[in-house]
Symmetry: C2
Subunit: 115 residues, 2 copies
DNA sequence: TTTATATTTCGGTATTAAACGAAATGATAT
DNA sequence: ATATCATTTCGTTTAATACCGAAATATAAA
């Protein structure tokens, strides 16, 4: 990855991307589930995910027709891993993120998708 | 300041602001000196400084007709102080920042200003 | 193979942020 | 008080980013 510092901060400079990172801290999510949580179009969510992926914050893995996204457990960039290993320190004061946390538990892709 | 996380990352998501932070790591600078280093208009530099100041990254102090800017030695936000106390860890891979470091030493407000 | 579902890519619009110069402000010196 | 210089604020233009819907792609099921 070898991202330059400004790109790392740019990736973190959008509230919706911070919401996604924090949601993925709870568990693996597919695009549909994230769209449901955040309330943006699928295509927009996909775009945000690709920015986070590009910097090494998250990984994707295919499972049938779904694409699962998860926090990268072993980022090559030390700054990215520093952020990820202390996510609660860096991101904790936005009301919406606290609300999201509760909602993530109730998300079920069997219900959300296929609609 | 009690800044929310996304604002902190937004403040860091511009290369010119990172350049300013790193330059202030070397020493206190006035707006003219920073304008000379970065190559932007005074008004633009002033705007960048106010964004960094708003988040608590830097402090200003007036000295005659000059306004000196410096790294905030005691930021109230833990995230801001975490960034500032490890600036070399967070910001170190942009070529221009390495170039800037050499130039800062040669800046002299007596020569730069008053022109 | 056709159909259905999930995701990504593309093209375009809307919002946000960066940049400038000019005018206004603040401070010092004449 | 007037002039000068550093800085900030204001109004505007330009560039970057966020967003959407439609079309394209990929996988799975019928």
């Amino acid at each position: 990855m070898n991202e330059i510092s400004v790109n790392i901060f740019k990736a973190l400079s959008d509230l919706n991307r911070l919401r996604i990172l924090k949601a993925l801290q709870s568990r693996v999510l597919c695009v549909c589930e994230i769209r449901e949580l955040i309330g943006l179009a699928n295509s927009t969510v996909s775009q945000h995910l690709s920015i986070l992926k590009e910097c090494g914050f998250i990984l994707e893995s295919k499972e049938g027709k779904w694409v699962n996204y998860m926090i990268n457990p072993r980022p090559s960039d030390l700054r990215v891993s520093a952020i990820l290993s202390s996510l609660d320190f860096w991101i904790n004061d936005e009301d919406i993120i606290i609300t999201d946390k509760k909602k993530v538990a109730g998300l079920d892709r069997k219900i959300i998708c296929c609609s």
